[in-house]
Amino acid sequence: MTAYVGAIAPVIPTPHIEYGLLSPMLLVFGAAVAGVLVEAFAPRALRRSFHLALTLGGLAGAFVLTIAVAVDSSVFGGGAAGRIAAEGAVGVDRPTLFIQGTILVLAFVSVLLIAESSHEVSAFAAQAAAVPGSAEEREGLVAGISHTEVYPLTLFAVGGMLLFPASNDLLTMFVALEVLSLPLYLLCGLARRRRLLSQEAAMKYFLLGAFSSAFFLFGVAMLYGFSGSVNLAAIAAAASGNTGNAVLLYAGIALLGVGLLFKIGAVPFQAWKPDVYQGAPTPVTALMASCTLVAAFGALLRVFYVAFGQLTWDWRPAMWAVAIVTMLGGSIIAITQTDVKRLLAYSSIAQAGYILTGVIAATTAGLSSSLFYLAAYGFATIGAFAVVTLVRNPAGEADHLSSWAGLGRRSPLVAGVFALFLIAFAGIPLTSGFIGKFAVFQAAIGGGAVPLVVVGAISSAILAFPYVRVIVLMFFSDPPADGPVVVRPSVFTTSAVAIGALATLVLGIVPEPLLRLAHDAATQLFVR
């Protein structure tokens, strides 16, 4: 039909862009571009301050704009689910705005961690190009240089994350995927300490990420072959119309699903997660564990609820299997971990499995519970990684669990807060983790997936063991003589930890406001 219109009117029409609706993303990308200019022109002494103001200001501004769009009556007037913007490329609806708001808040907190500079100059390498162990590297370290490029890179990644769940067609989604991934590959390799581990992590992440992008793109091609469009609504229409080649459709769903599940870190696509979480600079790990997870789940939700919403019966069995192996795999392998970041990585895998149980329900309850869980988990996980940055020995962060022994004796507050996060991950009541788990399990049972929830409960009990073991180490064991010290954090890390802990408690005791927000966001599902 487009071809026909083009035939009679050979002028290319100017695309109509709803700048107002896209303003949050535009602001973040704009700030990122401005950050590149700062990097080029600002004197070194002032760069960090400029970047900080720009990054935090950009994220906060984007959050305000997100709220402005959310209350904009022209978008949701007359009971509309939302609007399609930018010539069908972007969907602006309530779930997306919820997800974007969550990403922006979590990114803001993560940037606070990235900005920490009181333990050493920064968590990032002085010169990424310098070979580890070389003279240039020493030079940079001695000069106290740090990479300030991390700020614009973070902003680009966050911009991609905002676009990823908002994409209404698969090509935009693929572009967003790459925009969010490429800066993250770089950020992973920038650790100031243990650079080889960091570079290895970046390499693995890049290779496996590229691999999964290929899967994603192949899936897009299949679906285009099936429906003749990359638009999610058009794919849904073609699928329900039962026209076209079903093999293409199913292959497309599978390949697209692999690409998305890779980003989430669901088993069997989880292999990158522990290595990358361990090797990446911890503030970047916090960013990935919270914001990337939220964005990836947002995209997964949109694709499976909008494009494949009619095909629930077809993809549900496969998703069941993925959710079960993710929950069990993540929790069982977590038991054997001896590195705190790897432990948190496997825990994140298992948590992704719990959220999948909500996704599988394919109902408004499933959507709203997933949204709540993502927000609750994001805060707790940033807080947990923030605590990890504080426990240090002369070689950097003390990640090995054995060095956490007796931490509760020497720094009761820090250990207590970390225990709070672990208890939240374990889903004990009066923390946000319990309400989140309750919400997704309830959605799953409401959707008839009782066996899935039973597996989820058993997996939670298994997963409690590694958490409990860390608490035992911290509180019930005697500290080693040459144990790590807990550094006194600056206001940046302190506020990140405090926000995480506060959110974990408040969402556990008075979850009603955020639950209502998630519920309202989910009532009309995604715009088509």
Binding site: P429, G446, V450, I458, F476, H519
Partner: protein, 548 residues
């Protein structure tokens, strides 16, 4: 005063105490050892004062409880999480009331008795952990008291679950941080066992809610509406199992008991009293409140199995107790045996059995509490928990030995002491239904005589061991701690009527609910009418049944 939020206030007071303790200067505050002792003393006094205030509040509440009034009294209901149909809803029936009273009586006793436990002053030689924060210990204890009151007072299944699970964390820290011996192992075992049961229960709790939404009704977690929920037999069985396994682990019922001896042995005596005296009762309370009322037909279906497990528990606990060499471990195994009797009484489904079981919960809390505490006093003197390290204590510490004997005799249910009444009721109630079970369980009492008296004989009588010769008798503080318990054991043994009167209507209501799907035995009352009657404050004239 009828609208006074008694339960909320009783629950909040310990929490306020915990916060007050948290605000006192900590270990790192400046000052010498004398200042530190003064600070510790302040903490302990705050804990004691707040637990006594809580006791006073619950006593004042209890005297206003109207026997024959509505089933749940002192109720409050507020929306908490409307998206899930969750309410902050509290209220007590007779069963919950006496259990709350038992809790609040035990807490000041435990605070007083564990005055020096947190320092590890009385730990067995070689297993003493380094000095721990006194503040944290008493904060944990008061927070635990809040949660224990909450778990008995909740009339919303979600709220109950929240307290049921959250309770584990303070107890876990009390065992793991302040315990002796294999405290880490015991704490982890305790937590993981309880968590597994709790998570399975969570599935059942959610499923219950989902079923309550069937037919387009707004879902609810409120207890009373849920008792009217109609569930298919299969669904009932699965949900019953979800709840029951959690409670059976908590109680603990054989074969889910293995965490208890470890946890009770590793915990300080005070913590062990809370664990065995109160936390275990949450399990049996849950059975009587939730398993019977919500899933009556499933309860009947599983009754033979549970009766069998209970009888095995009674005998197994008693036999294993005889063989123990460790004082605390022995008392823990006697608890396994007694908890078997309690579940037996509950699932005999007779009013005597259930009244007896509820009474037993209270009496067991006091009797075992006294036994644990006095054993703890002995251990703190001799610095050993091994029975073989004692001998002839009654010659050097006659008061200690005498009180230990009374507490022990209460453990074997000597007539005249409180446990006799409850044990008798349980066995009578069981006999009318399950003769064989009652006869076998009676054998448990004979075994109880063996383990108690033999323990007494080995520790208290005989030649005085040289290490024991200098053992001082009970101090005033210790007397003040166990004195009230011993007094209660004797008073309730002679005059249990007030408690039985309070329990009776609640048990009747439970039995009515439990038989509503299966109205054959044992008390041919017209079910529906009694339910509406009890819930509408008119206890006697129920035959009209005018309520919807």
């Amino acid at each position: 005063m009828s609208n006074f939020p008694w339960l909320t206030v009783a629950g909040v007071v310990p929490l306020v105490g915990a916060i007050a303790i948290g605000l006192t200067p900590g270990q790192s505050a400046p000052g010498g050892p004398a200042d530190r002792r003064a600070r510790d003393l302040l903490v302990k006094r705050i804990a004691l004062v707040f637990s006594v205030i809580t006791l006073a509040i619950t006593v004042a509440m209890a005297v206003q409880f109207k026997i024959g009034g509505p089933r749940f009294q002192f109720t409050q209901t507020y929306q908490w999480i409307p998206q899930f149909g969750v309410h902050y809803a509290v209220g007590v029936d007779g069963i919950a009331l006496v259990l709350i009273l038992m809790t609040t009586v035990l807490m000041p006793v435990v605070v007083l008795a564990s005055w020096n436990d947190a320092e590890g002053a009385g730990n067995p030689v070689g297993s003493a952990p380094p000095r721990r924060s006194i503040k944290t210990y008493f904060i944990l204890m008061l927070v635990l008291e809040t949660m224990m009151i909450g778990v008995f007072a909740a009339t919303d299944v979600f709220l109950f679950y929240v307290f049921f699970e959250a309770m584990l964390i303070p107890m876990y820290f009390m065992i793991g941080s302040y315990g002796v011996g294999q405290r880490q192992y015991a704490a982890v075992k305790f937590l993981l066992y309880s968590l597994l049961g709790g998570l399975l229960m969570l599935v059942a709790v959610i499923a219950l809610y989902v079923y309550s939404t069937s037919g387009g009704r707004p879902g609810t977690f409120l207890f009373l509406p849920l008792t009217h929920l109609v569930l298919s037999a299969t669904v009932q069985k699965w949900l019953f199992l979800g709840f029951f396994v959690a409670f059976a682990i908590k109680a603990p019922l054989w074969p889910f008991h293995t965490w208890l001896p470890d946890a009770a042995t590793a915990a300080q005596p005070g913590a062990a009293v809370v664990l065995v005296g109160v936390l275990d009762k949450v399990g049996t309370f849950g059975m009587i409140r939730y398993c019977l009322d919500l899933f009556p037909s499933a309860a009947h279906y599983f009754t033979p199995l549970i009766i069998a497990l209970s009888v095995i528990g009674v005998l197994y606990g008693a036999i294993v107790a005889i063989g123990q060499a460790d004082l605390k471990r022995l008392v823990a195994y006697t608890s396994v045996s007694h908890m078997g009797l309690i579940t037996l009484g509950i699932f005999a489904m007779t009013s005597q059995g259930q009244v007896g079981a509820t009474l037993y919960m209270v009496n067991h809390g006091f009797a075992t509490g006294a036994l644990f505490l006095i054993a703890g006093f002995m251990i703190s003197r001799r610095r050993s928990a091994q029975i073989a390290d004692y001998g002839g204590v009654q010659k050097v510490a006659p008061v200690l030995a005498g009180l230990f004997l009374i507490a022990g005799l209460a453990g074997l249910a000597l007539p005249g002491l409180s446990t006799f009444v409850s044990e008798f009721l349980v066995l009578v109630g069981t006999f009318t239904r399950y003769e064989a079970a009652a006869i076998l369980a009676t054998a448990g009492i004979i075994l109880a005589a063996i383990y108690i008296l033999w323990m007494y004989q080995r520790t208290m009588t005989g030649p005085v061991k040289p290490e024991v010769a200098s053992m001082p008798d009970l101090k005033a503080r210790e007397l003040w701690a166990v004195g009230p318990l011993i007094a209660l054991i004797i008073v309730l043994g002679v005059y249990p009527k007030p408690i039985i009167d309070v329990i009776n209507p609640a048990v009747r209501a439970t039995l009515v609910d439990a038989h509503s799907a299966n109205p054959v035995p044992p008390h041919p009352v017209n079910n529906r009418f009694v339910v509406t009657g009890l819930s509408s404050a008119t206890s006697s004239s129920t035959q009209n049944g005018s309520n919807p």
